[in-house]
Symmetry: C2
DNA sequence: CTCGCATAGATCGAATACAATATAAGTAAG
DNA sequence: CTTACTTATATTGTATTCGATCTATGCGAG
């Protein structure tokens, strides 16, 4: 009996890591909605642990930008406004461009084949969330070839925060699948011909397109120019 | 009597914020050296608090990259290897360039005057750490004009981590003060003439120079090519 | 003499208990 | 009827206690 509990615990080196991973998954999967308060006691009970590791897990997620702390009011799933989504897009482009520039000279044909495989899988994937995952893997793998762990972390962290939005516009993602795939094709081709400038240009196009899709989705529900800005923004 | 204690506490909204700020200052000022273990109980005693807020403060600093956690081994002040310093430099350039590009079109003459003031102060500053501070303020203020809070945070966080290194090479910083100031002059001039490309180019030069100074300092103590890499790097 | 193992001390991590703060409901005055 | 204040409750934040893991010292076998 105790062994079973120990086994589950053993899969993570500490309890807080387990809780952090669980919460991260919950947030990114949409089980917790944006702006939703995360009650420490409730979470502790759900995971069958005490509040201490929960609090520290939340702190960790706060560092990743997924949740936001307010003194004596606890943590809520981060909400991002239009301005923040744009800002994250700008930063992502900047960092992924850097990664791609560093990666292109190093990249080998085997490396590219690995990305091509993901590209092919994405091409024949019809499920929305699976496709989004493969899209992200495409970027992730490419960035990894840069061999810059800290940069990689930052990009992944930004992507995770960004995903809080992407999820709501998954329909748009599928609608624009053809365009998205063509852009990825452009990136791959540029990488293969070792043309870093072209690759970065294609990447910028790709990421901005994704943002435009989200924007289109948002505008369907609220006008960012008017009270939507107040609504989408916080404070 | 109780009011006094309350007043001290009141300056911070929560205890962990106070501890986090205190530790951050301690780390950046060099009171805690790189690689030094941060004993929770000792810190708690020093601050006159319990371990709980200390642990959460450390978690927060971990999110900022200033300390590193290892399961059941606690937190140590982050060490950065040559590779990481270079990586941070690359990322800083990328992000500060983005900020500068966004700032240039918005920047007003009054804004520039504000930076000029810092520039002048730096010119007549002889104290090493004060000069380093003013240098950083120069960059910080310029980036702020971009009006991108998240970007600003990331840049500040990177700078803080970077400072763990810059400190050791402050002599080099002073030695190259003339060059540094000239580069800052270039940046300012480019901003004034609204030439974003030139400003970014000057900025890149400036940040890479700073890295070269550190590199020169490091090479005086260890050869990064040989066992120094093993020594400086980890894992 | 070296290597491996066992045991003890120190330190971290988690659970529990307690105090401080914010939110909301309810009441009384204007 | 509205508004301001009081009070009750829920929730966070901090302290304390307990248990688990790591590190170092010492002992014995090879």
């Amino acid at each position: 009996m105790k062994d079973l509990a120990a086994t589950v615990a053993r899969r993570y080196r500490t309890t807080q890591d387990m809780v952090a991973d669980g919460l991260r998954q919950g947030i990114l999967s949409g089980a917790f909605k944006s702006g939703q308060p995360l009650r420490q006691e409730q979470i502790a009970e759900d995971f069958g642990v005490s509040k201490s590791p929960v609090r520290e897990a939340l702190r960790q997620l706060a560092g990743e930008g997924l949740v936001t702390f307010s003194p004596h009011r606890g943590a809520v799933v981060s909400e991002i406004s239009y301005e923040e989504a744009r800002e994250i897009t700008e930063i992502r482009i900047s960092l992924e461009s850097l990664a791609l520039r560093l990666a292109v000279p190093k990249i080998t044909e085997e490396d590219l084949e690995q990305v091509e495989e993901v590209f092919r899988l994405a091409g024949s994937e019809e499920d929305i969330s699976h496709y989004a995952n493969l899209c992200w893997q495409f970027h992730e793998i490419l960035c990894a070839f840069a061999g810059r762990p800290r940069l990689q972390n930052m990009i992944e962290s930004l992507h995770a925060t960004y995903d809080l939005y992407v999820r709501v516009s998954s329909r748009e993602v599928m609608r624009n699948k053809v365009r998205s795939q063509r852009q990825h094709r452009d990136i791959l081709d540029a990488c293969r011909s070792k043309d870093a400038n072209a690759a970065v240009k294609a990447l910028e196009h790709n990421i901005w397109s994704a943002f435009d899709e989200i924007l289109a989705h948002m505008e369907r529900f609220e006008d960012p120019g008017e009270d939507g800005a107040r609504k989408a923004g916080y404070k």
